[in-house]
Symmetry: C2
Subunit: 124 residues, 2 copies
């Protein structure tokens, strides 16, 4: 049976929160064994926990704020728009990807695909 | 070669516009031959032009307004949040799905999957 809507929304909210201020290991704990990550869509799909951990470890040291804008859940799958603001010195980089995820029965992420491109990055 | 970003954004903008105030045939013209539609995600996938036409014909007579909120394009694929407001008598139904689409080289839609559920419908 697919995870219910509330459980999936919990995972999404926690995911967005942790991408902003969590550790790679905390994010990894949201993923099921055998999960895959394609971020951005079109890049090589990460299929091992090591490669997924590496992906999030790269952003762990950054000064970031994140917020969930909109989430839509349908039958154990979801798509959501969130905003990620990164400060590097005097520069602020704002990116608002749309992520598409599938989940296992316990609400852990089984696949993640992030829709965004460099053209969506706002620098101020 | 994948359709470029601008072409895909044009198709998305036209799609959202037509869902609000176009005809089923106008919408169908945005789809490539062999396209599939799953709306909402989890429902039976429509695989023929007849069944896709039937889907849009059902909403054609409704009094609707639509607007694109946010679109993200990556490698010939896209995800976008849009808002659809339907007026039936004194009631206003507002739904903001996140659609995920793939496109052929000419920017025509090859697959469409819409993320939303009844829980996302706002009635006022």
């Amino acid at each position: 049976m697919a995870a219910d809507r509330d459980r999936i929304l919990d995972t999404i909210e926690r995911y967005v929160d942790l991408v902003g201020k969590g550790t790679a290991d905390e994010i990894l704990a949201l993923y099921a064994d055998g999960a895959t990550v394609e971020d951005p869509v079109g890049s090589e799909v990460r299929t091992t926990r090591e490669s997924i951990r590496e992906f999030y470890a790269a952003i762990e040291p950054l000064e970031q704020e994140s917020r969930l804008v909109s989430a839509r859940v349908a039958e154990g799958q979801a798509a959501f728009l969130f905003e990620l603001v990164t400060r590097v010195g005097d520069q602020t980089y704002t990116l608002a990807p749309i992520d598409v995820m599938t989940f296992d029965d316990d609400g852990r992420i089984t696949t993640m695909r992030a829709f965004w491109s460099n053209a969506d990055m706002e620098i101020s």
